[in-house]
């Protein structure tokens, strides 16, 4: 696993399959609670594909309002979780000069062939699956799906924007940090 020893110069390019704990996810994503929907990445091939877990608990901030007497995870947040996994996959392939990956965010540009097949409630464990698809110009297609106990709860093709050089917009620069 990358960064466990805290070394900044460790090359990650040769590592084909990773798993990531919470702290490592924070290094690759600008998202933070209560809008971080990945608990653990269990399989990751940088730039290609990934699988991750999102445990849904009754403490989720959004369940207070959706709905007060009938807690259901909003379907679009399941898609958001998949999109965040897509950002992790791309960030892991996008190393900075120091050899460490850059945090990445892609902005949603489109959602297609989307289906919500089952309600997601507290106690459910979502297994998120994302495969990176075709890239053209500044757009990237992601094939995403979420499963709970082996049955599909949601699936979609998501399109996100990237910068002209094919990388996600970099949010880890000092200027970006100051602007926040």
């Amino acid at each position: 696993m990358p960064f466990k020893d805290g070394s900044a110069g460790r090359s990650v390019a040769k590592v084909e399959q990773w798993s990531l704990e919470h702290r490592e996810i924070l290094e690759l994503l600008p998202h933070r609670p209560p809008f971080l929907f990945l608990d653990r990445v269990i399989q990751l091939t940088p730039g290609k594909s990934g699988r991750a877990i999102k445990n849904v608990t009754v403490n989720e901030a959004f369940l207070g309002g959706h709905f007060p007497d009938d807690p259901v995870m909003p379907g679009f947040l399941t898609l958001e979780a998949c999109a965040q996994l897509g950002a992790v996959i791309m960030a892991a392939a996008n190393q900075s000069e120091t050899g460490r990956p850059r945090a990445a965010v892609g902005y949603l540009a489109g959602v297609e062939s989307c289906k919500f097949l089952r309600l997601v409630r507290p106690g459910d464990q979502l297994l998120l699956s994302v495969d990176i698809g075709r890239q053209y110009g500044q757009l990237l297609a992601l094939k995403t799906a979420a499963y709970c106990v082996k049955s599909c709860v949601a699936k979609a093709q998501i399109m996100v924007t990237m910068q002209g050089d094919g990388t996600m917009p970099d949010r880890s620069t000092p200027a970006a940090d100051e602007a926040r």
Binding site: A109, G110, E112, G133, R134, Q135, Y136, G137, Q138, L139, A141, M159
Partner: protein, 103 residues
């Protein structure tokens, strides 16, 4: 040259092939981009982006994926000129086909 001779000439065959390819592309574009167009609204030379059909960059990605899966080709990353019109896409597919058969 009689009409029968003309219809059997290689040039006529090429024209018929081209015409079939263009119609197949028009169908693919309408279907994959869910465009509700009459068949005469999309001319072979109608610009797909900007003026003309005014497709956007998301349509471009969908179109590239549709063409690649339908014709088993790879559209090069710098290939915006290929997507200019139905005719330019047809030219690209013919050039790929010729490249493959001469290789």
């Amino acid at each position: 040259m009689t009409l029968a001779m003309l219809q059997q000439s290689p040039i006529n065959e090429i024209a018929a092939e081209r015409s079939a390819l263009v119609e197949r592309l028009k169908g693919l574009i309408s279907e994959s981009l869910e465009l509700e167009l009459e068949s005469d609204e999309m001319d072979e030379d109608t610009p797909l982006f900007g003026v003309g059909l005014a497709l956007d960059s998301i349509d471009a990605l969908r179109l590239v994926m549709a063409v690649e899966s339908e014709f088993d080709v790879i559209v090069p990353p710098e290939g915006w000129h290929i997507l200019r019109s139905v005719n330019t896409i047809a030219d690209f597919l013919v050039s790929v086909d010729e490249g493959a058969s001469s290789a």
